[in-house]
Assembly symmetry: C2
């Protein structure tokens, strides 16, 4: 049995706990507050379910001690930097870290890479939502004067999105100042963003999300090869499940001595699944 | 540059040639008739584009001499047996063979494995077509009394398919005998199959094909997670491209000393693509 610990117990930590309990080859090694990070060192692998900007600190502490980690770090522009830093730590500590293991970045990245291999020339568009962006919601909540927030992602086609940010203000907070702070945050600065004050964010809350990932490309010299991947999912449940499946991959890589940090496009799908190679090839190929 | 040879020059061999010519990191090492198999040993990797039932013979000859091979062997029930046999040959010969590298088995298998990791409980249905099945068409053509054939796959939903087999008879052939021979062939015996005599198969021919791969499953304890993968493609063009992308993966694995036979679910998507890890992580994750 793979002993899996959870560090951080928000939406994703709770969903990951359920995914561990549902896995035939895993047992829960504990759920820890990030202040108790070092209690995780009993585990084979730790799911770092802290806010994304604290992932590197905790993953580094654990991987340096040979503990595998999985995170769902979701700031696209900083993934290579995280991978580089964690790769060094992991190779020294003889650990494996699977980074940015959610659905995007994560499983969508695997689909994008596969579609590129099927039709190397062409355009891929990843259209998100409608649905709550967990990263954007956390970023909006972190703005001073915001009591509660919900950031909805609205697909406008060809990979363009609108952000609808619903906020409850702290008493005495100035809407215009809060709005300006949100609009200049790196999470929001590049998209059309609307900030709307509401009485109750709870009344709007729904963790449903979706993706429509489209590629029209060229295989060899043949044009108009069309591919589409759609999901309509509970967001934290999927993220938690992806992290748990990647925990299994981390252990497989460690057992093979393949220490280092990996993103999901660097993983073979078979390593995400319980069972023997023969069982999985017979069932899935 | 990776030197890639093609063994067998039918629909897939021709499409593979175009995919090699379009690849920035490859050059064509030659196109060979299967009688000249040993002329391929100058290549780094050979695409075995012979009929599926001759794949193992040629792949074995090459891999035993340390030449990597890629095939699109498509008899689902015999894939594990091919993998086992080729794995032994490859480990002795220090080669890598990627087997069953088409779109199904092949890239669809990767999608099925990924969806299983995203929602471990539930049902996946792979619905093919409408489109010509190359494997089934070759099998129908091989039946005595058949001058030309086209086997169309018609999706009936929930993974159930009808086979519409259009045949031109050889002069003097008996339709009822030919029909009986087709219906008992292992390619057709398990599906609803209709054999129809026509004057001209050429008049019907179209290499378009498609897939609708659907999974509704459970992530952790959360039900109703919905996933769908659709393609509408030129069939030999996609198969040729997949084989060429897998040729790249074969060389990567060989360079890392990971000798043996692999199906596509055992490959990381990144290994299918040209470019460095940094370039690909930055572009696709």
């Amino acid at each position: 049995m793979i002993r899996v610990a959870i560090l951080g117990y928000g939406n994703i930590g709770r969903a990951a706990e359920q995914a561990i309990q549902s896995s035939p080859d895993m047992e829960l090694a504990g759920v820890f507050h990030h202040n108790d990070c070092m209690n995780c060192i009993d585990a084979d692998v730790v799911l770092v379910c802290t806010p994304t900007r604290e992932v590197q600190k905790f993953a580094t502490l654990l991987a340096a001690r040979g503990i595998c980690t999985v995170d769902s770090f979701d700031i696209h522009g900083q993934i290579w930097s995280l991978r580089s830093a964690m790769d060094t730590v992991c190779k020294t500590g003889k650990a494996v870290s699977i980074i940015s293991a959610g659905w995007d970045p994560g499983s969508d990245s695997m689909v994008r890479a596969l579609l590129m291999a099927l039709a190397p020339k062409g355009l891929t568009y990843t259209n998100f939502g409608p649905g709550r962006s967990m990263g954007h919601t956390v970023a909006a909540k972190a703005v001073q004067g915001v009591k509660n927030a919900l950031s909805m992602t609205i697909p406008l086609g060809t990979g363009i999105h609108r952000r609808m940010v619903y906020i409850e203000l702290e008493q005495g907070a100035d809407f215009k100042e809060v709005e300006a702070a949100i609009l200049k945050d790196d999470y929001f600065a590049h998209d059309e963003t609307h900030v709307i004050a509401v009485d109750s964010v709870d009344a709007l809350n729904n963790v449903a999300h979706g993706v429509n990932l489209v590629r029209n490309g060229v295989s060899g010299e043949t044009h108009n090869q069309r591919f589409e991947f759609n999901m309509a999912i509970n967001n934290p449940a999927l993220t938690g499940q992806v992290m748990v499946s990647c925990a299994r991959a981390a252990i497989r890589l460690k057992e093979r001595g393949e220490y280092g940090a990996k993103t999901m496009i660097e993983l073979a799908p078979i390593d995400l699944l319980p069972g023997t190679t023969e069982e999985l090839v017979r069932a899935l190929v």
